[in-house]
Symmetry: C2
Subunit: 193 residues, 2 copies
């Protein structure tokens, strides 16, 4: 299989030819059309997904039916409902394609087996989760310390791709503000500078 996943593994760890093959044997490619679901809340998240092409969002729905974007994910990043994945119980997260996308599907039970066969893979994911944790902590810190405008500027700076590719309604939700507020913020930003 030809996928960015293997470049990505190569970048962060050293695997033998056989180990690559072992991983290759347990993953499959899946296509997700724009606006179609990859995962629906209430389902058990049986897989981790590596984005090979396209762009997706994960989100929760609160008691008032309002959606809250949890993650905005493009190529070379992982997505899933991690709580549901690690407990293998029904989850609360939806994953939907923002563009026509292709993901590499890594099943829970195969991954658990691979961890024991390939210590380097366990190291890979340990480091991945460390980095993900740090990134999330910085996002929480921004959410609590900065104004909506500052958070939007930070997003443009840290993830310019996202700011360009993703509709503003999802960006707003990701930043924890309403689309109306984001629209006003942009108006001010582009009139000033």
């Amino acid at each position: 299989m030809n996928s960015l996943l293997f470049d990505n593994l190569n970048k962060y760890c050293t695997l033998t030819e056989n180990q690559f093959k072992a991983i290759e044997q347990v993953v499959v490619r899946r296509f997700v059309k724009k606006r179609k679901d990859l995962l629906t809340e209430g389902d058990v998240c049986k897989y981790l997904y590596f984005v090979d092409k396209g762009c997706l969002r994960s989100y929760t729905t609160d008691n008032d039916g309002i959606e809250h974007v949890v993650q905005l994910v493009v190529e070379q990043h992982w997505v899933g409902d991690l709580y549901s994945f690690i407990t293998q119980t029904p989850g609360t997260i939806n994953i939907e394609a923002i563009e026509d996308s292709e993901v590499i599907v890594l099943p829970y039970f195969e991954l658990e087996k691979l961890y024991d066969e390939i210590p380097a893979l366990e190291k890979f994911f340990r480091k991945l989760f460390q980095r993900a944790y740090v990134a999330l902590q910085q996002r929480l810190n921004s959410a609590q310390s900065f104004s909506a405008e500052e958070r939007y500027r930070e997003l443009i700076h840290l993830r310019p791709e996202i700011a360009q590719r993703v509709p503003l309604i999802y960006i707003a939700s990701y930043l924890g503000i309403t689309p109306e507020s984001l629209s006003r913020i942009r108006k001010l930003m582009f009139s000033k500078t």
Copy 2:
């Protein structure tokens, strides 16, 4: 050494006698008096700390000199500046004891060595970071979906210990609100119910 750390390791992974000893040999106990720093921003975080006794907070300081509590940590939990720790570059986080505390100090370079000697330890930390990531994602979700009062109620429900032991100024900061707001919220809560 007698520490909750070893109970904790036992709970989440299986280690041999020799592996325990190997870990025991690289850690030391450190005492931190109330209001004293365990780590100061600008320093490289050379250690992970496991809380054996007491209670600490980690926090950042923003451009206006305002402190933002990142973590509130009690016995059996880990604390550190993970960004600084994994990059071994100067960090932005302060860690201060809220009560007289005792921590078990695990050095970066020793841990890196142990990972390769003890695959079960790498698994332990992979799972730890997974759980930490999930918990943080739920906290971010609360910060973006719920009112200040709802977040305070959630904290009381999920971490009753913290709500009791920790001064309200730090709780407020942890929730991303001002002490004045938290005081008013409590007044309403206790007059209503």
